[in-house]
């Protein structure tokens, strides 16, 4: 399926089989990927970590999947998406959905855009196989194919 409303996912925004020490490290890796793609500056990773520190591991929205994000702000240059898969799954402290195998980092240029992007993402992950497919993806092209986005 083609999800044209989602931003492109350049190679810089995909990190496969990353080794993360803990949830914070995993989120920071996804933040570096977002910054590398040009969607955000480095400070957005700090904002994403802070969201989880403040509100808990609620971003683990489905078994194995963390949807890391923060509010739109000066750190966001444009809509952006990054995918990090973890070589070894990492616990986030979520009561039902730990451990995390895939971190999807999301940045929206505005709150309205952010809501549109999560709606598109919901369409992808309502297919319950999507997390496992992403976790097992061997190439960035494979990841783009699962998400239905371009480079």
């Amino acid at each position: 399926m083609d999800h044209t409303a989602l931003p492109a996912l350049p190679d810089d925004a995909v990190v496969l089989r990353a080794r993360a020490r803990d949830w914070r490290d995993a989120v920071e890796i996804s933040g570096r990927a977002l910054a590398a793609s040009g969607a955000t500056d480095a400070g957005y990773a700090v904002d994403m970590v802070r969201m989880i520190e403040e509100h808990g591991p609620y971003v683990v929205v489905a078994p194995g999947l963390a949807l890391a994000h923060a509010r739109p702000g000066p750190a966001v240059h444009r809509d952006g998406l990054a995918i990090v898969t973890l070589a070894d799954p990492v616990p986030f402290g979520h009561p039902y959905n730990d451990p995390v195998r895939v971190v999807l980092a999301l940045a929206g240029a505005s709150s309205a855009r952010h809501l549109q992007l999560v709606a598109e993402i919901a369409n992808i992950f309502n297919d319950s196989d999507a997390v496992a497919s992403l976790a097992d993806a061997a190439t960035a092209d494979e990841v783009r194919g699962i998400l239905g986005v371009g480079a």
Partner: protein, 90 residues
């Protein structure tokens, strides 16, 4: 009917709950307005809400309410959402 979806920023996971709740409500033939909010908007939005959909972390933030609070485990599992909404809407 008004249904709230609650999360940390009101733009992320509550947005997922909103689209999936709208999908389920349409399937159930229930006419409802679904509003995605963060905790700071609770006070102003809570009054006329009948159902609140959220994750386990936010239940304490809601406090006393007449609304049915539904704790969602898998935000992408519309079957779970439908089951829990059907119970709440009786």
């Amino acid at each position: 009917m008004k249904i709230l979806t609650l999360c940390g920023a009101g733009i992320g996971t509550s947005g997922i709950l909103k689209v999936n709740a709208e999908r389920v409500l349409q399937r159930l033939g229930v006419d409802a307005r679904v509003v995605a909010i963060d905790a700071s908007m609770l006070e102003s939005e809570l009054d006329d809400a009948q159902v609140i959909l959220t994750g386990p972390e936010f239940v304490d933030a809601i406090g006393q309410t007449f609304a049915d609070v539904i704790v969602v485990e898998n935000y992408f599992d519309t079957a779970e959402l439908q089951r829990k909404l059907e119970v709440a809407l009786g």
